[in-house]
Amino acid sequence: MIRSQSPIVHISVRAATPLAAVAGIYLFFAGHNQPGGGFAAGLVLGAVVILRSVAGLRTPDDATVLVATGMAIIVAVAAAPLVWGDLLLDQKVVSLELPLFGKIKSGSALLFDAGVVAVVIGLIVSLLNGLAPAEFSPESPGDETST
């Protein structure tokens, strides 16, 4: 990944981080009634991570746990209906009052979306680490022929 040393980039990314984060969180909560949703929110939040990396700021270095947690949330939401006697993925709808969005009539679906967000961010972080040029020079082609 390209790494910028410019202080301007550094500062502007710092400034943009909370903004983008807010945008992501907005998309997340708005999703059920407006365009948006977990995946879009995850991508925006993931983009924040990318930006931070470009600016040379600290980024998480292992995404496995994040990914696993996201998956676990989703599986749990899917399985939860068993507890109240329904079968699979029977979403529970509850009304919520949130300061910024007003009344939100959503419960387990929101939790479900949270799982999506976690996995998407995890994916982007792992991508960031996976595709980043590691500290090595390309090997000569013959080096690793199958043994």
Binding site: L43, A47, A109, S126, E144
Partner: protein, 756 residues
């Protein structure tokens, strides 16, 4: 009772496996118990004349796969041979492997497995039972022939035997399908009584018989199978394996009584095999090979008789089956003993055997005389019956059968004479053969079977009591026949006398000339042909594979795209444009064209930047289109995804050259052609399938349910997180796995040493 017989064998298998861990001799002795017990049972049942017992077990009802056994007279007669000789062979083998002190499970268990397969085959009463045990014998004999692991020629022989008999098995399978379809029953009794079988069934069954019973041109595996340990040869080529074909021919023969195909094919092949086998046997110097080709010759005789199918011929065939089992097993056993004790089977090196191994020599003479059909041995009575059967025929049929049977008998006498004369010749340089110590375990079984040839002739009534009912079962007309100790001065006897005279003259002539000039090695033409055909199959397979499996991804993808075009062509008749308008709004058309243009630029793209631009342009135009279509969620997501992908594309391939490698020209036109056809195919299919939709989406339901049950206004989001939440679950897991995979790949980069 039949269940008990099989149960005893299973116990025997387990017992042999346990005993085999300690010593092979122990295992062989344990293994002998089951066949011995079976022999007693069969003999007792035959002599008591009880109603035949039966047993059955359903396996797969739908396919009529049922194991059905019936111990009728024919089955019991065969059981007597299979198990009786089997028990003796086990005893013999314990002597054969006497010096082998190590424990071994493999040989005793496989041999007993073969024995029980053979038993199942002869007791079978339904076609599928026959087939199942038929295949067992192929497999177990494969293992037995290839027993010597360090001998590549044995394995080659085993392979060839399996290929030929395996192909025969397929032919049998096909033949049985046709046969059961013709007859409408899987029971042998129904089939034998039906007389409705088609020529196709006749040919298929005869091919199977020919492979198993080593008829021309499928006989090449049998001499090769001599690479097996001698007890195996003695067992497989006297009473069992090779007789499997004959048994099938006998029990199914009833269905083909009126079949010209069956009669002529069997007659000609059988006669030719008899002559060829006898002729080649004359040229052999290896005792085992003489016996092997002799077996082929005798099997030809049996096939000829069964193809003729008259009541007398069937009777004669069964008599020969009994006689042959006895003298051929005796000869093999004695040859094995000679081989073990002198270290050679070469006729040239065995001159003077009558001095160094007198017992073995007597056994060989006894069995050989029976084989040559000379009184006072069982072989004589059997051959008389055969000659009589031929004399009862008429027309060309008689001529062919006569040439086969009488010619074959002449050759049999000749090679027997030559063999015995060779063994009793005085060694020229006065050298005597040094033989190892006498082994009772090997000698006694051979003495018993050879002696039975004599005893059988003396007690011909008992033999008649076994053979006549068995033959009657196959052909009701056989009830009136019996084997005669001395037929009187009939035409048949004259013929036999002439046979012996001519045969021994030929044998003597060859024996004398041999001392002066050495006959060349026989050409194993047939073996070469069958090996060549297998090689041909292998070569063909390589050529075909090279064609279809290039190993080149672009070629695979082009093939796949071509099939896509073909599949899309199926939509063609339904393609219509009447329901299509140019665009809903002008902007839509503009954006559509813009996407097409940006995509087209992708064909020419040479740099990574160009690729990113193409992608970006398409992505933005797509988002615009989505807005127009009323899909804001899609538009938003598309933009975000595109951003990440473009960033990934630019940075992810960081080490690559900034320009793409040049487009290779070779396949360019093909690629372009297929690609354009694919595009057209997809468009055509879309146009066709949208022409007259047979259903539409439930708009009102969606609107209502989304708010009331789903609790959200964004219907797309409600679908994703609620109605079709399972899809989303899957989608998330896919992303998670990708993340895991990317991390794993990154790790291998960091520690390249760990990779592979």
């Amino acid at each position: 009772m039949i269940e008990l017989v099989f149960a005893i064998h299973v116990v025997g298998l387990v017992g042999a496996a346990i005993a085999g861990r300690r010593s092979i001799q122990g295992a062989l002795r344990v293994a002998a118990i089951a066949p011995a017990a079976t022999t007693i049972w069969a003999a007792e049942s035959l002599l008591s004349g009880r109603e035949p017992v039966s047993a059955s077990m359903t396996w797969v009802e739908q396919l009529d796969l049922e194991l059905i056994f019936l111990a009728d007279s024919f089955a019991l007669m065969m059981t007597l041979l299979v198990s009786g000789i089997g028990a003796l062979v086990f005893v013999y083998a314990s002597g054969y492997f006497a010096v082998d002190a190590r424990g071994s499970i493999r040989f005793p268990v496989t041999l007993l497995g073969f024995s029980v397969s053979m038993l199942g085959l002869v007791l079978a009463e339904s076609v599928w039972t026959v087939f199942i045990f038929w295949e067992f014998t192929s497999i177990t004999s494969f293992l037995l022939v290839g027993h010597k692991l360090s001998d590549p020629s044995a394995q080659q022989a085993a392979w060839r035997a399996l290929m030929i008999t395996g192909a025969g098995g397929l032919s049998l399978l096909a033949g049985l399908l046709v046969l059961t379809d013709d007859v409408g029953s899987v029971l042998l009794a129904d089939i034998a009584g039906s007389q409705t079988a088609s020529p196709l069934a006749a040919v298929l069954v005869l091919i199977a018989v020919g492979t198993k019973s080593a008829q021309l041109p499928f006989h090449s595996w049998l001499p090769g199978a001599m690479a097996a340990p001698t007890p195996v040869s003695a067992y497989l080529h006297s009473a069992t394996m090779v007789k499997a074909g004959v048994v099938v021919m006998a029990v199914l023969g009833g269905a083909f009584v009126d079949s010209q195909t069956w009669q002529w094919l069997g007659l000609i092949v059988g006669a030719a095999t008899t002559l060829w086998g006898g002729f080649v046997a004359l040229r052999q110097r290896d005792l085992k090979l003489i016996l092997a080709y002799g077996t082929i010759s005798q099997l030809g005789l049996l096939v000829t008789l069964l193809a003729v199918g008259t009541s007398k011929a069937v009777f004669a065939a069964l008599s020969i089956v009994v006689a042959h089992a006895l003298f051929k097993s005796a000869l093999f056993l004695v040859v094995g003993e000679i081989d073990i004790r002198t270290g050679t089977r070469n006729l040239d090196e065995l001159a003077g055997l009558h001095r160094s191994m007198p017992v073995a020599f007597v056994v060989a003479v006894l069995a050989g005389v029976s084989m040559a059909g000379i009184p006072p041995l069982l072989g004589f009575a059997a051959k008389e019956a055969a000659v009589e059967a031929v004399l009862k025929l008429s027309g060309i049929e008689q001529v062919v059968a006569f040439i086969g049977i009488v010619g074959g008998s002449v050759l049999t006498v000749a090679y027997t004479f030559r063999m015995l004369a060779g063994l009793s010749r005085s060694p020229e340089d006065g050298r005597t053969i040094t033989a190892l110590a006498f082994r009772p375990a090997m000698a006694i079984p051979s003495i018993i079977v050879a002696g039975l040839g004599l005893v059988g002739f003396v007690l011909l009534g008992t033999i008649n009591g076994i053979v006549t009912p068995a033959a009657t079962e196959l052909n009701a007309g056989s009830a009136v026949y019996e084997l005669l100790r001395w037929p009187g001065a009939t035409t048949a006897l004259m013929v036999s006398a002439a046979v012996v005279l001519v045969g021994s003259t030929i044998g003597a002539a060859i024996h004398r000339s041999e001392t002066a000039t050495v006959l060349g090695e026989p050409e194993p033409v047939a073996a070469r042909v069958s090996d060549a055909s297998i090689d041909g199959v292998l070569r063909l397979s390589r050529r075909v594979t090279a064609r279809v499996q290039h190993g080149s991804l672009p070629v695979y993808l082009l093939t796949m795209s071509a099939t896509v075009v073909i599949a899309a062509a199926a939509f063609l008749p339904a393609v219509s444009v009447t329901h299509l308008e140019w665009a809903e709004t002008p902007v839509q058309l503009v954006l559509g064209l813009a996407i097409a243009a940006a995509a087209a630029a992708g064909v020419q793209v040479r740099t990574r930047l160009g690729a990113a631009l193409t992608l970006g342009a398409v992505g933005v135009a797509m988002s615009g289109l989505f807005i127009l279509q009323g899909a804001p969620d899609l538009a938003l997501t598309q933009l975000l995804v595109e951003t990440i992908v473009v960033v990934g594309f630019v940075t992810g391939l960081g080490h690559l050259a900034r320009t793409f490698p040049p487009v290779t020209q070779g396949w360019l036109s093909v690629r372009l052609g297929v690609a354009v056809m694919c595009g057209l195919g997809v468009v055509g299919a879309l146009a066709a399938s949208s022409a007259q939709p047979s259903g539409s989406f439930p708009a009102a339901d969606l609107l209502r349910e989304s708010v009331e049950t789903g609790g959200g206004n964004n219907i797309v989001n409600v679908i994703l997180t609620d109605m079709r939440a399972l899809d989303t679950l899957g989608e998330v897991v896919v992303l998670a796995v990708v993340a895991v995979g990317v991390i794993a790949l990154a790790r291998t980069s960091r520690s390249p040493g760990r990779a592979q």
